[in-house]
Subunit: 217 residues, 2 copies
DNA sequence: CCTTATTTTGAACGGTCGTTCAACTTAAGA
DNA sequence: TCTTAAGTTGAACGACCGTTCAAAATAAGG
């Protein structure tokens, strides 16, 4: 899967970096909208305004390109979530609602902020989660942060079985993704602040996770 | 999208019905495993043991075939859910947990029962829900039953905003799908009964929906 | 300013895709 | 039994796929 790259002898030019960014952004949109097989290298190249061969030059094979796109966005989001967690911990002792807030809020605010790249990323995550083909990619990009939050929650509920904490995490993530990419099914977005919907989502997740962690069975 | 078909002049033979079923089942597996674009007519034909042209004869175009497969399974599941709801209503006044149980349990038991066709259907639903391309299909196949359950829940919480009930329904569905097709992320299935996991899922959904329906905001 | 690593082009390669269709086989209905 | 609608085959169509590569253009580093 991964071959070690030849050592660079020169710094990339500004133009090359811009081209690379255009290719990755275009690929992100097409992969998100049409899935891995549905997105074609030629469509991506045309949207980025380059020749097809250049996509391979900057992104490698189609699989490597997909991996690259998911990993770069996941890394940035992971950083934001961990930062939110540390900030919250510095203010007050963590509770369940705060922990889930730190996980859910960063992404939902990015996606609802209107940046099409983060909306696309949500669809990408949905594709990756739905297809067992991407199991390794999910494990690499999503699991470390998820494990971190699972550990925080488990520390609050010492008696809860580990599997139950993990289940709550998975359910919460799925509800978060549905909140973003199935918003049209919930109804037309309210013209005012979207924060109401976000708070409602976090309340749903918190109550659900709390219920299964404190149940007797 | 839909042309009116020529009137049949003869009943289909038993062999033809079997062939048709083999084609639809094979298509269901490939669409579920690889998505719409990832599944090829030739793979489906080979798995069904027929020539490629026969797939078009029984299933129409690729889009029509996809629609056919989702609709037939959705119709059957919808019937089971409504039956469960009516049975429960006959026994005792409905409450939130019972309503959600009637929605979630029929599918999860089918999928966890080991029938690969129902496991495949779960992945199909995930694909349909993740891709805006299938918005109309989702509206046709999923919304009527969802609306029915939303109405039942709304009747229990007269003061709750309609959008909040719909949000709870969408979150619950997403958690249910995650429970089935992301079970590997929650952990190895317990060797004993899977009903424990199902009860936990229903408890999660019930507590979450209840929380957002009774919140002040 | 040179040298040359890097970026970019343009075209081509072998395959696979969804779809179509004439010809052949099967079996329903009179 | 006979007619013929329906089922099935096998091959072909044009289009698009991911990938490769020699050659040209660009620009970093000495």
């Amino acid at each position: 899967m991964f071959v070690l790259e030849k050592q660079r002898q020169r710094a990339p030019s500004a133009r090359s970096l811009q081209t690379r960014a255009r290719i990755l952004d275009a690929a992100e949109q097409f992969f998100a909208a049409r899935g891995f097989e549905g997105a074609s290298i030629r469509d991506i190249a045309k949207a980025a305004g380059v020749q097809g061969g250049l996509v391979a030059h900057h992104g490698g094979s189609k699989e490597e390109l997909f991996h690259l796109i998911v990993a770069r966005r996941a890394g940035e989001l992971s950083r934001l979530r961990i930062e939110a967690l540390e900030t919250a911990r510095a203010c007050a002792p963590l509770n369940l609602g705060t922990i889930l807030d730190c996980f859910v809020r960063p992404y939902v605010e990015l996606a609802q902020g209107g940046d099409p790249r983060w909306v696309a990323y949500g669809r990408l995550v949905a594709h990756v989660s739905a297809d067992p083909r991407w199991r390794d990619l999910a494990a690499e990009c999503f699991d470390p942060t998820a494990q971190r939050f699972i550990a925080e929650i488990a520390a609050l509920f010492p008696g809860a079985p580990p599997g139950t904490v993990a289940a709550g995490q998975v359910y919460a993530v799925s509800a978060m993704l549905a909140h973003v990419h199935s918003a049209w099914r919930i109804g037309a977005l309210s013209p005012g602040s979207d924060a109401v919907g976000l708070d409602r989502l976090i309340a749903f997740c918190t109550a659900g996770v709390y219920a299964i962690l404190t149940s007797d069975t």
